[in-house]
Amino acid sequence: MRVRRRVTLWSLALSVALAVTVTVSAGVGPVRIPPATVLRVVANAVVIPAGVEFGTVGVGPLALPRLGVAYQSPFAFPVDDVHRRIVVLVRLPRILLAALVGFALAAAGTVMQGFFRNPMADPSIIGVSSGAAAGAVAFIVSPVTLAGTLRLPGVGAVGVGLSHGAGVSLFAFAGALVAAFGVYAIATRRGRTPVATLLLAGVAVQTFLGAVISYLQLQAGESLRRIVAWLMGHLSGASWSEVVVVGLVVPPLFVVLLAYTRELNVMLLGETEAQGLGVDVERTKRVLLAASALVTAAGVAFAGIVGFVGLVVPHVLRLVVGPDHRVLLPTAALAGGTFLVAADTVARAGATELPVGVVTAAVGAPFFVYLLSRREVYEL
């Protein structure tokens, strides 16, 4: 019970911190908007189902009945429409994407550090980030587009396919999963996946993909700038559709990870001891690997390589709340979201926008060093 109370208190506190950070961040930019206005805009945007409406879709003989839900907004605070547009259409998607990506990376980093019992582990250790980068870079370099125009008789020209940005994300996501699965397949023999082998297979795959990425960059020509921007991590141009995709992928997988926190604690004892305590070690490893690979892939696919969040945030939280994953995982995830929102705010607050990955590293590393100097970390 003590654990549950600690989880609840810490999560509440960090959720409040995240909400405050999001609110403040939404006010920062070329147009300064006070937090009170931000809150009013958000309140106005809240809708609740107000009823059901019937209608039809299509025309003529193809008409189908359609059931719709009517929404209404319970609030109607007076706000400047320009402010509303800036907050809802420009800043919030970016901020929420940052929160989700930070949340995802910190959660996956926590799991990987516990899984590998290695302080240097981060979400990229099983090749996810390299795979995503290779996928994204390959798509950027290649002349292939996934968009086209389809001429349908009677309907006319219909645009189908994916925008360039969505294509990059899709390829990054696929690349991440292919790389992670490749690492897992290399390291698995006769149904067993030794953690040390996994770690080394991850290094090998990362190195190989690094070479691929370097080669593609040499061949990139005028796309090089876009590649570099992607590789350094970026949240600019985030759209609500991206937020929705990440928002649909990350939380269910996070619940899976939460469900395995007790096993993760026991796995810290080492696999032999964990097995002796009734943990199906190989199955647990597969679940943890798959869930954290997907979580990381979802984050990296839309934000590029944002380093450091997955490495440092879990460490910092471990120093604060202790090693118990039942407390550590939710707190680290929330702190990761808060940290990335704050870092991205800094990244876009200046005259010229910085890649967010640069800010996370530049801000996070000295902070981490400060923590290390105050409290010695002998082991993970």
Partner: protein, 401 residues
């Protein structure tokens, strides 16, 4: 003792064999091409402590890990409380056998209580909080092992001995009918080692079954009901400690010369191992009394010499040692004078021996007839080392031949 194997359906047969929580038959395990254990049988019975003894690399840990399904076996069957191991889920196995490892890999600052709570893993549902029985099991495990006093300290701050008790507590919290212990006393001070074994003995007397891989033969003899001697992956001997632990078994299993005697300070055996030598066996007669004579008898007996000893008072250290190495003993009742027949018998033995060793402090208690025949005299004030003793006996036998 509660046995909660029926808690949730893991497809396990709930008709448990409560009397025999672990039955291993014809176990074979190999790593790659190397056969580690072969043809091992092991049965754990409720209320009985089995000592698994043998030299390093004999396969003790492998056997323990195979019982938990951690190490895959090549052949043989393992039944836990009646059910075949391969039909049981990891959770079900964790409710039937608990292991106490030598050391834990845990380097995180979990509190002792949190570590012991990990023992409840096989009993708890994924989303359940700790039940009343979980809390009871943890508290009673902490109390029984004397770890309750530091239950809220991080395990990383404990001494080696304290950590090993925490590991014991964790295994107790699992509430399994069987315990597997890998060198439970290896890293402990003598007092802690005895405490740990006494605790284990009490747990077994309360109805648990246990097997402990132990390299300390005296501990095994003192606390175990049965001893299984493992060497090179095979069972060399199995049975009651007194029947199994003799000089031959130690010699065969450990490749060491050994003196195995009755322990004077405890109910058990005392085992003294020596480095292996390849001396040629001779008939040797030893005369003398007291501990120094006992030492000479033990060492020469362990080296394989055919000994006769006398004249000694019955019950003297030399007489006890002589009996333990199966020497011919010429004795007289304690405090009695050496009578003529004993003296004559002893002299006859001395005359038949290739070497006569006299152990004396110079006070002249040895019969003159024997002292005159002594090929070498061991002065108790300045005794030779084992090595020198064996070399001198060999030299004396050589010159006499």
């Amino acid at each position: 003792m509660s046995n909660e194997v029926s808690a949730t359906g893991d497809g396990a047969n709930d008709e448990v064999d409560a009397e025999r929580p672990v039955v291993v038959r014809d176990l074979a395990v190999s790593y790659g091409d190397v056969t580690v254990v072969e043809g091992v049988d092991l049965t754990l019975e409720a209320g009985s402590l089995v000592g698994l003894v043998g030299p390093n690399g004999a396969g003790k840990t492998t056997v323990l890990q195979a019982i938990q399904g951690i190490t895959q076996r090549d052949a043989g069957s393992i039944r836990l409380a009646g059910d075949a191991l391969e039909t049981l889920s990891a959770r079900a196995v964790g409710r039937r056998v608990a292991s106490v490892p030598q050391e834990t890999g845990l380097s995180f600052a979990f509190t002792v209580r949190a570590v012991v709570e990990m023992g409840r893993t096989p009993h708890r549902g994924r989303f359940e909080g700790p039940s009343a029985s979980d809390v009871d099991a943890v508290e009673s495990a902490l109390a029984r092992t004397g770890t309750a006093v530091f239950a809220d300290r991080p395990i990383t701050e404990l001494s080696g001995g304290e950590r090993s008790r925490v590991l014991m507590a964790r295994a107790l919290a699992q509430e399994t009918p069987a315990l597997l212990l890998d060198e439970p006393t290896a890293s402990l001070d003598v007092n802690r080692a005895a405490e740990t074994m006494a605790l284990l003995r009490r747990l077994v007397d309360d109805g648990r079954a246990a097997v402990a891989a132990i390299h300390d033969l005296e501990m095994a003899a003192r606390y175990c009901d049965r001893v299984v001697v493992l060497a090179n992956g095979r069972v060399r001997a199995a049975g009651a400690p007194d029947a199994v632990l003799d000089a031959d078994a130690v010699h065969e299993a450990f490749d060491a010369e050994a003196f195995v005697g009755r322990a004077l300070a405890a109910d058990g055996r005392t085992v003294t191992a020596y480095p292996s030598t390849d001396v040629t066996a001779h008939r040797v007669h030893v005369a003398g009394v007291g501990p120094e004579t006992a030492r000479v008898v033990a060492r020469l007996g362990a080296a394989g010499h055919d000994l006769s000893v006398g004249v000694v008072p019955a019950g003297d250290a030399a007489a006890l040692a002589a009996a333990d190495v199966d020497a011919t003993v010429v004795s007289v009742p304690p405090f009695a004078a050496i009578d003529e027949s004993a003296r004559t018998t002893a002299v006859e033995h001395a005359e038949r021996a290739a070497v006569v060793v006299a152990v004396t402090d110079g006070s002249g208690v040895l019969p003159v007839a024997i002292r005159e025949r002594a090929d070498l005299v061991v002065d108790t004030a300045d005794p030779p080392t084992d090595e020198v003793l064996l070399a001198r006996v060999a030299a004396a036998a050589g010159s006499g031949a």
